[in-house]
């Protein structure tokens, strides 16, 4: 099973450029159509399950707006 | 010809083209870049020379070379770029060749900002480059004046073989106003001026143009020739505009944008019954010395207003010689004054009392403490 991950986007600094949307290998990032931030941009957000926490979105993000987390397998943790 | 709504920078570019501009060399810098962009399209379209140089240093030296051929040539820049051009400016002055330069001033010193300013007055009027030289400095207050003065600049530069600067600013460069453009002049062929470097073509002895006079007596003669020519220019080429001065008790002196802002304030003051007028120098070099001197003998006070720390103020003080009190008001560093600020200065001055013993710059700085802090 692929690792599970998630991202947090700092919406106030996101400019909705869409590079992370394009780069995401799992195609699980979208620009939020329903809201705009203080600067008038639709910020990026995780739309679906399937994030693996690979970090590629953060690598391409020009704003350093994304923090990436990956779940640590609980089984390993317990050992 | 019908009036056209044009941006100041583009209007200057088109006016230069119509005045027979043969070659343009420049470098992008805000807020004059539209001028370069316009000519990057327009000059090649007409088969004329356009080069975007690698720097202002290179641009002005390309201009230097082109001017040596006797061709109509121009460059444009904004304050920091103009500082880089000072090398070529001094060399061209010493070589006594005609050149037109447009300075769309912005806030300084240093990199400053891109907002309008008039802080390059001293650089263009009182030197900038090294050595003893003078240059004609024209200060437009509108897009139409920018157009008219561009054409005039070429004529004056050639008449006196002298550097001619159009000292504009970011607001005049960026604003759009209706203007009437001059007729298209045909491009002249190769210059037949007796000094121009055009290759001998087997027709004459070889020539050279340079700014080097290693024999000090030759250098002195050159300096004196340049200064004598300047006296002629002072006698013939002073230009200015007067508003409501006939019966004025108080006079404002301001050039370019500052003069425009003052005009609005003067009208408001007149509506209130205060007898104030405006003298707007068009040439700040040569400066309207006689006009200011006469004014100082018939008004109760003069207010100098500029978008710098009082650079023209020093010239006015030297001319007024204590004939009447001189006051000063300025916003600077890229801040443009609103008319109401000048109006309150008029109120203050009309109320009095005024003294010839007060240092106007120092008094202004004291008043500014309340505005800026």
């Amino acid at each position: 099973m692929p690792p599970k991950g998630r991202i947090e986007v700092k919406e106030i600094i996101c400019k909705g450029c869409g590079l992370c949307v394009d780069a995401c290998p799992q195609h699980v990032i979208i620009l939020a159509e329903d809201r705009i931030n203080a600067k008038g941009y639709h910020p990026a957000e995780l739309s679906l399950d399937g994030c693996t926490g690979c970090g590629i979105c953060a690598i391409i993000c020009p704003e350093a707006a994304i923090t990436v987390y990956r779940q640590v397998a609980p089984a390993k943790e317990n050992q | 010809m019908a009036r056209q709504l044009m941006k100041g920078n583009e209007a200057v570019a088109e006016a230069a083209v119509r005045a027979g501009l043969h070659a343009y060399f420049g470098y992008p810098i805000t807020p004059q870049t539209e001028l370069l962009e316009y000519l990057s399209r327009r000059m090649p379209e007409l088969g004329r020379a356009f080069v975007q140089a690698e720097s202002e240093v290179a641009a002005i030296n390309m201009v230097y070379g082109a001017a040596c051929t006797g061709s109509r040539v121009m460059t444009s820049s904004s304050s920091p770029g103009f500082s880089l051009m000072m090398e070529g400016v001094s060399y061209m002055a010493a070589t006594e060749i005609p050149v037109v330069m447009i300075n769309v001033m912005r806030g300084g010193p240093g990199l400053g900002n891109i907002s309008p300013s008039q802080a390059d007055y001293n650089q263009s009027v009182h030197g900038g480059g090294h050595g003893d030289y003078r240059q004609i400095v024209l200060t437009p207050g509108s897009v139409q004046e920018s157009v008219d003065l561009t054409v005039l600049a070429f004529d004056l530069a050639e008449k006196y073989r002298i550097n001619t600067v159009i000292l504009s600013d970011g607001s005049i460069g960026q604003m759009m106003e209706p203007c009437e453009l001059p007729e298209m002049q045909p491009l002249r062929g190769v210059s037949t001026e007796p000094w121009a470097i055009t290759a001998t073509m087997g027709q004459r002895e070889h020539r050279m143009l340079s700014s080097i006079y290693l024999k000090v007596s030759d250098e002195e003669k050159t300096n004196i020739r340049i200064l004598n020519r300047w006296r002629q220019i002072e006698a013939n080429e002073v230009r200015f505009k007067e508003y409501y001065l006939d019966d004025a008790d108080f006079a404002i002196i301001g050039f370019g944008s500052a003069g425009r802002v003052a005009l609005t304030a003067v009208r408001q003051a007149r509506a209130e019954g205060i007898k104030v007028g405006l003298l707007r120098p068009i040439t700040v070099a040569p400066f309207p010395v006689q006009q200011v001197a006469e004014l100082s003998k018939r008004v109760q006070g003069i207010l100098v207003t500029e978008m710098n720390g009082g650079q023209m103020l020093d010239d006015v003080l030297r001319i007024v010689k204590g004939n009447c009190p001189v006051e000063f008001f300025a916003r600077l560093g890229g801040v443009v004054p609103f008319p109401d600020e000048i109006l309150s200065e008029i109120h203050r001055i009309a109320k009095g009392p005024l003294s010839v013993d007060v240092d106007p710059r120092s008094a202004w700085l004291d008043r500014m403490a309340a505005i800026v802090n």
């Binding site: 400019k15 690598i59 391409i60 993000c61 020009p62 990956r70 609980p74 | 370069l36 990199l111």
Partner: protein
């Protein structure tokens, strides 16, 4: 019973980069380059001894985005200013960050001479094939045929000359120790760019002389393309003219173990 999910942080904002919004346009790779520089500064623990030299151009305000000391140079003069700083404070880490107008046009003399002197500084050179700040005019790096606001029918090499391949040119100088070109158009290239920045910075730290990393970058606003299309344009048009690669690696740099 739900077990608490344990997470590791895969990526977070570098410490050397301030947590503020930049003035750059959406999708501008200045942001990526800033981040990479900050990440390397973090990794190498350089934050407290770093002095940056900003240039004139869009990145003129870079000092607002980094949590390190900064000065701003006159247009094109960053390598000269960095020389002054480095000669006075030789144990500090000094880098310049310059665009193509700044470095390859007005500042050509300064960069050539800093490189030939083997000045012990690091240079981040952003090549986006136009002048961004002033609104998209032709730069020395503008490609043949490329339309800009001052080459409106496309750069005509007959009238306006050819683009300069700065890395190749500087590589001819004996004083240059590490001169490479990388690109920022996709995650793989961004990773490689970061490695190059690391090597450049190590070059300086070990006193091995002049280092420069040229980074091919996008300018979506002035190119009139979306950020995503800009990346594609970079890959399709810029990379063929400006091949990625190592143009000068001094043997002493090649031997470094990082």
């Amino acid at each position: 019973m739900d077990l608490p999910i344990q997470e590791q942080v895969v990526y977070e904002h570098p410490v050397a980069l301030l947590d503020v919004s930049t003035h750059y346009c959406p999708g501008c790779t200045h942001g990526v380059a800033h981040r990479l520089v900050a990440e390397v500064i973090d990794e190498m623990n350089l934050q407290s001894k770093t002095i940056g030299v900003a240039s004139v151009g869009c990145s003129g305000f870079i000092y607002n985005y980094f949590d390190v000391d900064f000065v701003v140079a006159a247009h094109g003069r960053a390598p000269a200013m960095a020389t002054g700083i480095k000669r006075c404070l030789p144990d500090r880490f000094v880098f310049t960050y310059q665009g193509d107008g700044d470095l390859a046009s007005i500042g050509m003399a300064e960069i050539v001479h800093a490189a030939t002197r083997g000045e012990n500084i690091s240079v981040i050179f952003m090549n986006n094939a136009n002048y961004g700040m002033t609104g998209g005019q032709m730069a020395p790096t503008t490609l043949p045929g490329q339309k800009t606001t001052s080459s409106q029918t496309g750069r005509d090499v007959e009238q306006q000359g050819f683009p300069i391949r700065v890395s190749e040119m500087l590589a001819k100088l004996d004083g240059a120790s590490y001169v490479v070109r990388r690109s920022l158009h996709d995650p793989k290239n961004i990773r490689q760019a970061k490695k190059a920045i690391r090597i450049a910075f190590e070059t300086q730290l070990r006193g091995l002389g002049f280092s420069m990393v040229e980074l091919l970058s996008v300018c979506p606003t002035n190119w009139n393309l979306t950020p995503v299309d800009s990346m594609k344009w970079l890959e399709d048009h810029m990379v063929p003219y400006y091949p990625l690669g190592d143009y000068k690696v001094h043997p002493a740099v090649a031997e470094m173990r990082i």
